[in-house]
């Protein structure tokens, strides 16, 4: 009877071995994944077990923490001027997880990030509680305020960048929401949260329009088209006459005309005049002459068709389409399938302003440990060179003409050189919806070029012509630029 007994012993040993292998699999191999699973409540418990680190703007925290008595969670997130900062911070809610900076830097803010290992170990030995680190942003509180207040009750967005570094200075989106209203987990919080969801609120307050929404860029895209014309040598002198008939018939169509707004004089005008007056015929023809491939290549140098623009919050992908000739001509004036985020258009203005060099946009300057040691410092990075310095100069000069004596006069600032471009993008079938009013610009002083900005306003039902961008969006851009210049002094 002993042989089967030994086999039974081996069998029982194998049973125990199988258990040992299994627990190693669950706790060691799959451990981290299970530990950080979004449905694992411990993640949230951990997140709110200590006061969370803060998001800092201009040296001041725009977030905070307060104690609650809601079961598992000791602390709750609070926001200062939450509506204004929501597109920057995102939210951190006990019941509804977190997003944007709050989510991306959760490890630092909670204090569990591996880079805080040393600080945590010290805390463990000194017996003090785990603390969260801070996220220092690049934003400019004054510029943000100007942008947010400038948008007011209108639906729209503002993105402002420092062209020299790529640092994001303002990121406003309206209508907005206050993340404080659903930071907890009570019924009231749930109600507030549900009220903000798209299905219950057609205004979509939680949509970050500056980063996550694409619009047809309209005439502001003509800056890119003009750049493509110069870079590809189609025209070299911005003041020389172009070969542009009026009316211009879209290529490969049976006489479908591309019209200009009103009765502006666009026949054979120079690029400078064409941008000043915002001639569709001139830029439509430029795009058609260059062809889809070259137009696309130039747009991509400015950041279009890049799905990985992480600021670190990822921006929606702006699209310059691969398309047939008539559609490509339309895309050249910012219509058809051409889509851009406000951030993207701010990047266009900033590349022009920065002598043709596009800097990678970012909004987190430093990650700081609880003991104030810098864990990570951002260094500005060049993203691409859409323009040669000479051509950048030329584009700057014609954009400055737009503000001096063109459609963008509303953005003029005394004693400061401002370059800009208006836009009014049609959308909806047969142009039936209210157009988007756009304005992109930059401001230059003798010390440098500290700001480039893009403004978009949805549903401007007052005006349909091309100067809507100048009327509605340019004043907001001006206020934002002034706020930044104010800080520079």
């Amino acid at each position: 009877m002993n042989k089967p007994l030994r086999r039974v012993a081996i069998f029982c040993g194998l049973l125990v071995l199988a258990l040992l292998v299994r627990v190693n699999w669950v706790q060691f191999v799959e451990g981290d994944q299970l530990k950080n699973d979004t449905n694992n409540r411990r993640v949230a418990i951990e997140r709110y077990s200590t006061p969370r680190g803060n998001i800092i703007v201009d040296g001041k925290a725009i977030t905070g923490s307060t104690t609650t008595d809601s079961g598992d969670f000791k602390y709750k997130r609070t926001y200062k001027n939450g509506k204004m900062w929501a597109p920057v911070t995102g939210y951190a809610s006990q019941a509804f997880d977190a997003n944007q900076l709050e989510k991306l830097n959760d490890g630092i803010l909670t204090g569990t990030d591996d880079r805080l290992f040393f600080s945590r170990t010290v805390d463990m030995f000194t017996g003090s509680k785990q603390k969260g680190g801070n996220v220092v942003t690049t934003l400019d509180a004054k510029a943000q305020k100007a942008a947010f207040e400038g948008l007011g009750n209108q639906k729209g967005a503002v993105a402002a960048i420092n062209p020299e570094t790529g640092a994001i200075l303002a990121l406003a989106s309206t209508p907005s929401y206050d993340p404080s209203t659903f930071a907890g987990m009570s019924n009231k919080d749930a109600e507030a949260y549900n009220g903000l969801l798209k299905k219950n609120n057609p205004d979509e307050p939680m949509l970050n329009r500056a980063l996550r929404q694409t619009y047809p860029p309209g005439s502001t895209f003509k800056v890119v088209t003009a750049s493509a014309a110069l870079e590809n040598g189609l025209y070299t002198d911005v003041d020389a006459k172009t070969d542009s008939p009026v009316p211009y018939t879209l290529p490969d169509t049976a006489g479908l005309p591309l019209k200009n707004e009103g009765s502006i004089q666009c026949e054979n005008v120079s690029l400078r005049e064409a941008l000043r007056l915002s001639c569709n015929t001139v830029f439509g023809k430029v795009s058609a002459d260059l062809g889809n491939k070259k137009m696309k290549a130039e747009a991509e140098k400015f950041g279009f068709n890049n799905s990985k623009i992480d600021t670190p919050v990822r921006a929606a992908e702006s699209i310059f389409p691969t398309d047939n000739r008539p559609q490509n001509a339309m895309a050249g004036i910012g219509q058809a399938s051409n889509r851009a985020t406000p951030l993207q258009m701010a990047m266009v203005a900033s590349a022009v302003a920065n002598g043709g060099k596009l800097m990678r946009p970012y909004m987190v300057d430093q990650l700081v440990a609880p003991n104030l040691n810098v864990v990570q410092q951002h260094t500005p990075q060049e993203m691409s060179r859409p323009l040669s310095p000479e051509n950048a100069q030329k584009i700057q000069s014609i954009m400055e003409t737009v503000v001096k004596s063109g459609t963008g006069t509303n953005a003029q600032i005394p004693n400061v050189t401002v370059g800009g471009k208006t836009g009014t993008a049609q959308h909806g079938e047969n142009n039936k919806d209210n157009p988007y009013a756009w304005f992109i610009s930059y401001a230059k002083t003798d010390k440098g070029t500290p700001v480039a900005v893009a403004v978009v306003i949805e549903g401007s039902d007052t005006l349909r012509d091309d100067i809507a961008g100048g009327k509605l969006a340019a004043p907001i851009a001006k206020r934002v630029m002034e706020a930044v210049l104010e800080g520079e002094k």
Partner: protein, 465 residues
């Protein structure tokens, strides 16, 4: 088995009693849970818990008395089993007490604090352990009760059908004023006694009267009868009591004992075929089983937008990681309901003392099982061998089914982790089980009495003509 070949691993003469080894190990088996207890108190309240003296004395007293009784009544018993059982029981008490500290899962509806009750049941368990050692002088006495055991086991297994289901399974009998019992736990021991007695008598018939077919020995129909009856019975338990665990245990136990008794691999093949057939058949009819299998295959699935118990247990294990969150510092209460202290107690173990701790606990179980089988190897009578391997096998299957279920290795079944989990019947029955194993090992290792002087051994008389 012939007595001339020496197949026992332990010699008949001169085996040391190892009682002092047992005493030394018992000291650890008491000290470790006491430290764990203090650890929980420090983590939860930042003070040494008030009950620590009582707990130390209580556990120490139980271990001490048990040791003295073993020393007196079973001096050659295996030295490892008692310390392992004590350690597991002590740690189980700490874990249950630790979970009692969580208000959400210790509401009056969920039975309130359970550690005091468990301590009482443990005391009763040790009392039964002592009783078995004192009154059961020789395990072979149990052989006399073969058929009575069968009747008792059947009654125990069938009785829960007449009581209402609790927590989704019909495995309880409720006695007003006393509480509820899980008769399956006791049936496990009694059925092993029946099998051992029955197989000892019938094993030759089962092993030899068979035809060869495709390399397998096919048993005769009349010998196959009992296994089919047991198979059908285990399926019936499953169907009527929705108790997957007990039926698996019951059937696996029978196959193991048959195999050991007859030394015929064909029994294992039949056993596997029958159990596979049975499992498939039941799985197609029984929604309860289907749900279990579904949860096993999709452990992290959300149910009505919420996290399931299975997923919560997996999160517990994952969050524990290698070293665990520390005693008292885990969140296994998120599993919710009554299960954290009973079926899911391993999740707390995994979360709070981590992979390292969980492996240590599994190794303790493994050690206890292998000591049991070693006892079977050492036993000198077939009944003792069969009974020891039956009890160890049942214990091993139970550990595997519960731990495998909770960690997601196999579908979950509602059974208790021996000694560790909350549950009166379980702890009492398992103490009795260890007592019987100790008794068999004592008999096996006891030095043979010095041979009586044989007249044949005298010098041959020379008969002179």
């Amino acid at each position: 088995m012939s007595s001339t070949t020496n197949t026992t691993t332990i010699g008949t003469i001169g085996a040391p009693s190892r009682r002092n080894t047992e005493l030394a190990l018992l000291v650890f088996a008491v000290i470790i849970p006491v430290f764990a207890y203090i650890n929980v108190g420090l983590a939860k309240e930042e003070t040494v818990p008030a009950g620590v003296l009582g707990y130390t004395l209580g556990l120490g007293l139980l271990a001490g008395v048990a040791h003295l009784v073993v020393r007196k009544w079973a001096p050659y018993a295996d030295p490892l089993m008692l310390p392992i059982a004590t350690l597991l029981n002590g740690l189980g008490l700490v874990f249950i007490w630790r979970l009692d500290q969580e208000p959400q899962i210790s509401t009056p509806q969920l039975g309130g604090a359970m550690a005091p009750g468990q301590l009482m049941w443990s005391t009763l368990g040790v009392a039964l352990f002592l009783g078995v050692l004192i009154f059961l002088k020789d395990h072979r006495v149990l052989q006399r009760y073969t058929y009575i055991s069968m009747v008792v086991a059947l009654v125990l297994l069938i009785s829960p059908i007449f009581f209402p289901a609790r927590f989704g399974a019909r495995i309880w009998i409720t006695i007003p004023g006393v509480g509820s019992l899980q008769p399956g736990e006791f049936a496990k021991i009694i059925i092993a006694i029946f099998f051992a007695g029955y197989l000892m008598v019938k094993r030759d018939a089962l092993a030899l009267a068979s035809r060869r077919f495709m390399g397998l020995y096919l048993p005769r129909g009349r010998d196959l009868g009992p296994i089919l009856v047991i198979w059908a019975l285990s399926l019936m338990i499953l169907v009527f009591e929705t108790d997957l665990g007990t039926s698996l245990l019951f059937f696996g136990l029978f196959v193991i004992m048959l195999y050991v008794a007859t030394e015929r691999t064909s029994w294992i093949v039949f056993g596997l075929l029958l159990s596979a057939g049975g499992a498939v058949a039941v799985a197609t009819f029984e929604s309860h089983v289907q749900v279990r299998v579904h949860n096993w295959l999709n452990p992290l699935e959300l149910l009505n937008g919420g996290v399931t118990e299975t997923a919560q247990a997996m999160y517990s294990f994952g969050s524990g990681g290698i070293l665990g969150s520390g005693l008292g510092q885990g969140y296994s209460r998120l599993i919710g309901g009554i299960a954290p202290k009973s079926d899911y107690i391993l999740a707390t173990v995994g979360e709070e003392i981590g992979l390292a701790g969980l492996m240590a606990i599994l190794m303790l179980y493994g050690l206890l099982i292998e000591r049991g089988i070693r006892t079977a190897l050492a036993a000198r009578d077939p009944f003792g061998k069969l009974l020891a391997v039956g009890l160890s096998g049942a214990f091993a299957l139970q550990v595997f089914v519960v731990a495998g279920g909770v960690t997601g290795l196999i579908p979950l079944t509602g059974m208790t982790m021996p000694f560790l989990a909350q549950g009166g019947s379980s702890v009492i029955a398992n103490w009795a089980l260890v007592a019987i194993l100790l008794r068999i090992s004592d008999t096996a290792r006891r030095p043979a009495p010095t041979p009586a002087p044989s007249t044949d051994a005298e010098m041959t008389q020379v008969v002179r003509p």
